[in-house]
């Protein structure tokens, strides 16, 4: 059997961001893989140390488009922990609303891109059309379609007026049937099954070894969701089940995402029903003392972790974060091994890779 090495870039991988792979082939099957990140490295962990804590919210919103609420909200949680700030209850619910809106839009984007990668353009357009309901909701409530600008240290900087809450409730109602339909389609459609079932399998043991998180881990039967394991914000008062699958293949990852999107609709409805009256953010902020803190959240791709160290000034001594995609790249070595070249773009997109997040 012939062995050769090929380079693959974003065009071949059907990625909208630059990531390069060096793939070792045996015949037409993948034998090994080297991931070459760093093409959009912006030195953001350096930049955050040159800005004050308040400016960093704006910067972190622009770290990544699809996780643009998870970063600032988790960063704010770390600052709040250092300073002992308790955010108002209404703000906890509003942060959850923003997170879940982003989760639905992110999961649907991932499913759409995979449909595109296998040439199912009609399905791609259908998923994007459904996602558009979420994009419009973002635009109506936050004034933009990506960076919601929802967070401040000590709370949130947006409110849901009765009119906006009613609009969002209506949008959620509109999402239910299409999401149920997509769940059935990605689960049972023979064409999608043929391309996605038993493809890109990550066995549970390998998932534990690679320390993957989020839908990639839950598709292998790993029952871990930060919202349950380390509750934050309003999640200790919201009712949902962790979406789990066991097959560890591309299909299972999408089933987890679509089940989560459906649960996000319910979570938003619960937030709207329980939304307490009260302030949106802490009245006055204390001086941020010297200290260190860890904050975690369940971003659309899984556990997002922030570490903050402060010295009593407004500038962080160190602000470090680890994104969920960081470990998921390594798991591709297992998922791709033995797969034909033609499956590479689909499998790579099935981890919902975030390159802006990975490179920083």
């Amino acid at each position: 059997m012939t062995t050769k090495i090929i380079e693959m870039g974003p065009h071949q991988l059907a990625l909208e961001e630059p990531m390069y792979f060096r793939v070792q082939l045996e015949g037409d099957r993948v034998a090994d893989l080297d991931v070459m990140p760093g093409q959009v490295h912006r030195g953001m962990e350096h930049l955050v140390m040159r800005r004050n804590l308040y400016q960093n919210i704006t910067l972190l919103e622009r770290l990544c488009s699809l996780c643009s609420n998870s970063h600032p909200s988790t960063f704010c949680a770390a600052v709040e922990d250092v300073a002992g700030i308790a955010i108002p209850e209404r703000a906890e619910y509003l942060r959850a609303v923003a997170d879940e809106i982003k989760r639905i839009a992110s999961h649907l984007f991932c499913c759409a891109v995979q449909a595109n990668a296998i040439g199912e353009t009609t399905l791609f357009r259908r998923v994007m059309e459904i996602r558009e309901i979420m994009q419009r909701a973002k635009e109506a409530i936050y004034g933009n379609r990506m960076d919601l600008a929802a967070n401040v240290i000590g709370g949130v900087r947006y409110d849901l007026t009765p009119e906006a809450a009613s609009y969002l409730a209506q949008a959620m109602e509109q999402m239910k049937k299409p999401l149920d339909e997509l769940y059935l389609q990605f689960g049972n459609n023979p064409v999608l099954m043929g391309r996605m079932a038993w493809v890109g399998v990550l066995p549970r043991e390998a998932a534990v070894e690679c320390a993957v998180v989020g839908p990639v881990a839950r598709a292998c039967g790993i029952d871990y969701d930060v919202r349950k394991k380390s509750p934050y914000g309003a999640y200790d008062r919201l009712d949902f089940e962790v979406a789990l699958q066991t097959a560890g293949d591309v299909r299972a990852r999408n089933m987890v995402r679509l089940a989560e999107a459906r649960q996000s609709v319910s979570l938003i409805e619960q937030c709207l029903a329980k939304l307490p009256v009260g302030p949106l953010s802490a009245d006055t902020l204390p001086e941020i003392p010297a200290g260190e803190a860890i904050a975690k959240s369940e971003a659309p791709r899984g556990e997002l972790m922030y570490y903050l160290r402060t010295d009593g000034s407004d500038f962080p001594v160190r602000l470090k974060w680890r994104v969920p995609s960081y470990m998921n790249w390594d798991a591709l070595k297992v998922m791709l091994k033995g797969e034909p070249v033609a499956n590479i773009p689909l499998i790579v997109n099935s981890i919902d890779p975030c390159i802006a997040c990975t490179d920083r």
Binding site: G9, P10, V40, E45, K229, P231, I294, K296, R309, D330
Partner: protein
């Protein structure tokens, strides 16, 4: 004390010495974070093995220059582990110059990128790393840019698609 805090305290005392203390904080939602400063760099490997035996997952590694690093001649690396929702941070204190730390990649596979990243950003040698190549930074950048002034335009690697391809293919020839 919960089972978790008792088990971690016993494991750290056994791995890193009787005087090793773990301080726990519980937030408003009941989530635990544990903080432990290891007595020496040598204690890191046994402590990490002990965390692995407790089914800990390596979550993140943070290298940093603490306050007054130059005056004190010391730097720190914090290893953050997940223990079923709780987070344990083990911190090692290293000299500012000629800092060396053992690789945890043989114990935690996902430490690989974490260590490659800290090796290129900070002036720290990770001993025993199986693949100590640069991860994100281009070879044209100086070593340990987080410890020196580097213009932002130099720092960013962003380029046109063609320039990226040329670089990827050139790397290939260098590796061959």
């Amino acid at each position: 004390m919960s089972d978790l805090t008792t088990n971690v305290a016993a494991a750290m005392a056994s791995a890193a010495g009787e005087l090793t203390e773990v301080t726990w904080r519980r937030d408003r939602k009941g989530v635990l974070t544990g903080w432990c400063r290891l007595p020496s760099g040598e204690a890191l490997l046994p402590a990490a093995r002990a965390v692995a035996e407790l089914d800990g997952r390596l979550a993140m590694v943070t290298a940093y220059l603490p306050e007054r690093a130059k005056e004190n001649g010391a730097r720190e690396i914090a290893y953050h582990f997940d223990l079923d929702g709780a987070t344990l941070t083990l911190t090692v204190i290293l000299p500012l110059e000629w800092a060396r730390v053992p690789s945890l990649t043989p114990i935690f596979r996902n430490c690989d990128w974490q260590e490659r990243e800290l090796m290129e950003l900070y002036d720290v040698q990770v001993v025993g790393h199986p693949d100590p190549r640069r991860l994100f930074l281009d070879h044209s950048l100086p070593h340990a840019p987080f410890e020196r002034l580097v213009p932002y335009s130099t720092f960013t690697n962003a380029a046109t698609s063609k320039a990226l391809w040329d670089k990827v293919l050139a790397d290939d020839r260098e590796d061959a």
